[in-house]
Amino acid sequence: MVDFTRLWDVLVVGGGNAALSAAITAARAGASVIVAEHAPKAMRGGNSRHTRNLRALHPKPTDVLTESYLEEEYWDDLLRVTGGRTDEALARMCIRASEHAPGFLRDCGVVFQPSLSGTLSLSRTNAFFLGGGKALVNALYRTAEKLGITILYDTEVQHIAIEEGFAREAIVSWRGFPQRIRAKAVIASAGGFQANREWLREYWGDAADNFQIRGTPYAQGRVLRDMLASGVQEVGDPTQFHAVANDARAPMADGGLAMRLDCVPFSIVVNKDVERFYDEGEDVWPKRYAIWGRLIAQQRDQRAFAITDSQALHNYLPSVFPPMKADSIAELAVMLDLDPVKLERVVAEYNAAVQPGTFHGNKLDDCRTEGLAIPKSHWARRIDQPPFYGHPLAPGITFTFLGVKVNDRARVMMADGKPSGNIFASGEIMAGNILGQGYLAGFGMTIGTVFGRIAGEEAAKIGRN
């Protein structure tokens, strides 16, 4: 039985990688730690359950990372995807600390693997968890239990009572019953608000109803909103999120990685009005997959359709839901509920614009179009070899960028510019400090681990005093 009258050294709100990295670090530093995880045990781990790798700096090859990946290149990559909307000091600190993130996780029982087939060729920059994020989550919980950390499942933190930048206690719903948890320090690692459709509607209106939530349905943003309402400083654009091209037939929540479609660079993509809207072959997919969710979110009814033919079918990973298949473009259009005449015309115009070239699926080749208002810069081949295939696409949202402002010790900043006395944050709830827009594969887990460890360390210092 949990003793709710006890004063804990550290309360960790959330149950994913960022939360457990913090909890484990604090417990190892000698603090008594309690973790409040909103999900039941089987669904624990937040979005970490669906992850696969983390991006780590390394000066020389390791057993799971090839070649080297140094600070400047890492920083350049981040700068490019964020378009400069980042905090350089905080980002560089995180990049430098990422070198030690795989080692920390390995000490927590996480097993890494050399990357294989379905990995978007990231083995140089990203370390892959054997079995994926749920295996990582299992290892972290196992370590936490061994350290004597108290873990409460089915426990939603609903309110943190903050007075003058100081957290006094947390009001929680514990298995449906109201309780309070008192702690000397609080670490908020409760994720973004992407699963809160009402909140998304505030910025996106009815379009929000068509967004698929790729990860945990427990990311309701309750702690985030509560903290912002209690005088914590806000960071990040509330309308921004990380989103990919998902299969339109995927579940509205918790569909995870397998719902994403990698067919875009090898297709042409049209919206419901049967118009192409973006260069499908602008760059290699690992650098472009994260913009397509947003592109589709801006189309009518948040829908798009990737059209391809039998020639391209084996250039991308198989999809869970089989594509629509037809012997003519017109038939395919009918199956996809698109105007057949118009789709035939769009495909014909595209085919006429395709220039001769040599196709290379994995690198920027010279197959391109000429003369189209919206070009396809690479991998452009004529779509003329039946059967033809059509994948319906919808935006799949990974996480939102709105967060709480933190300093380089993971300490939450108050609206008046002063650091909080005892509140820290790690993970998606503060990722917006570094990610103003865009995304780098595996960087979310890096932010979670790095800031989780710092938050755990700092909170333990307060807890023990």
């Binding site: 359950r49 294989l116 379905g118 994926g132 295996a135 196992r142 397998a258 990973l317 198989p318 319906p392």
Partner: protein, 379 residues
């Protein structure tokens, strides 16, 4: 099209496929788009070689699965997730169906339906039979008095009977399993374009079998009991496997001594057959008891409960064979030897009789699946 929140029914689900096969296809199509488990065992790299999964493909993949359960505990889509991915359980069911389908003669496939009962009943009946035969054929006085010196065992059970029944039953088991192997190999063939079997894949499959590499989880072990990693099942299985092989070697060496060298049993404790049999028996005891324990306490989530009966019965039978064998060694100079010998041989007879219709066939099909996998990788 929109609003369909579950994976689609497979295109070729119209044939006489089992529910488990249809379910396995649904699951494999999700796994093939996810691929997080590719580092765990041979199943997932073999899966990525395919886009569509025929019945034969699924049977092959199911028999390639060692039921290490790594993929279940790591699965973001495991129950209670609506996708309900549970590869170890689904594949175990398909394996059992393939044992029935490829059994020889075909009608004997039904023996897999209530396998636990069948194995237990066979054990009970053959022990009874051997005891009765011994009583009927021999002077009961011999059965209850200490027999020592050359040919002591054969004074209890005549040589012709012992060897006759053993060769008949074991010979039949080998033949039936051989026929099963041929039918399985044809039934799971991926179609035209198969390369001939060469030395390299055979060697790889042999190493896989001898080391149980696929129960190593890539070095750190498997989820024997829960989401923690251990090598217990791998070690216990191979204690059993090598123990069994040593017992088999003991019998072979004994036969060689008898027929070629003219040395009759019982042999001295430090003789080769007795040493092989003793330590083989000890390993077999430890392995089977350990596996029974693992099976009892493991997380039931990824387990196909319907098949447990046959598995428990076979492990128990092997355990009893090894225990009675060791007891026989301990009391072979006393008046209890006769009855113990009859019980031991009765259990061995039962084992030979049920072998082609029991969990034991998994060795044949697993071996063939590993061979096919090693062959496929080289294409």
């Amino acid at each position: 099209m929109e609003g369909i929140n579950r994976p689609p029914a497979p295109a070729s689900a119209t044939g006489p496929e089992s529910e488990a096969t249809i379910e396995a296809r649904r699951q494999m199509e999700i796994c093939n788009a996810c691929r997080y488990c590719e580092g765990y065992c041979a199943v997932f790299p073999a899966m990525t070689l395919r886009r569509e999964f025929s019945t034969g493909d699924l049977t092959h993949l199911a028999n390639l699965c060692h039921s290490c359960k790594g993929c279940y505990h790591a699965c973001q889509y495991a129950p209670p997730h609506p996708f309900g991915i549970n590869i170890p359980q689904t594949f175990a069911t398909i394996r059992a169906e393939s044992y029935a389908e490829y059994a020889w003669p075909q009608g004997m496939g039904r023996a897999f339906e209530r396998n636990g009962t069948l194995v237990s009943l066979a054990a009970f009946l053959s022990v009874t039979l051997v005891l009765l035969l011994t009583m009927a054929l021999q002077d009961p006085a011999i059965l209850y008095t200490a027999q020592t010196g050359t040919g002591a065992f054969f004074r209890v059970i005549p040589y012709w009977l012992m060897v006759g029944m053993a060769s008949l039953s074991f010979g039949y088991a080998l033949f039936a399993m051989g026929m099963g192997a041929v039918r399985y190999w044809r039934g799971t063939a991926p179609g035209a374009g198969q390369k001939p079997i060469t030395v390299a894949p055979v060697a790889e499959a042999a190493v896989d079998i001898l080391t149980l590499r696929n129960l190593g989880g890539g070095g750190h072990g498997c989820n024997d009991l829960d989401d923690s990693f251990a090598q217990a099942r791998r070690h216990l299985h191979h204690a059993m496997f090598y123990g069994f092989m040593m017992c088999f070697a003991a019998t072979s060496v004994g036969a060689f001594y008898h027929h070629v060298m003219g040395w009759k049993s019982p042999h001295a404790f430090f003789s080769l057959p007795v040493q092989l049999g003793t330590w083989g028996g000890v390993l077999l005891c430890i392995g089977t008891a350990g596996l029974l324990w693992v099976k009892t306490v493991t997380d039931p989530g990824p387990v196909a409960k319907r098949l447990l009966g046959g598995e428990y019965a076979m492990l128990a039978l092997l355990f009893l064979i090894s225990v009675t064998g060791l007891l026989l060694l301990a009391i072979r100079h006393t008046g209890a030897m006769g009855v113990m010998l009859a019980i031991h041989l009765g259990l061995v007879l039962a084992f030979f009789l049920v072998m082609p219709y029991s969990k034991m066939v998994h060795g044949v099909y697993r071996g063939l699946a590993l061979l096919r996998n090693a062959q496929e990788k080289r294409k």
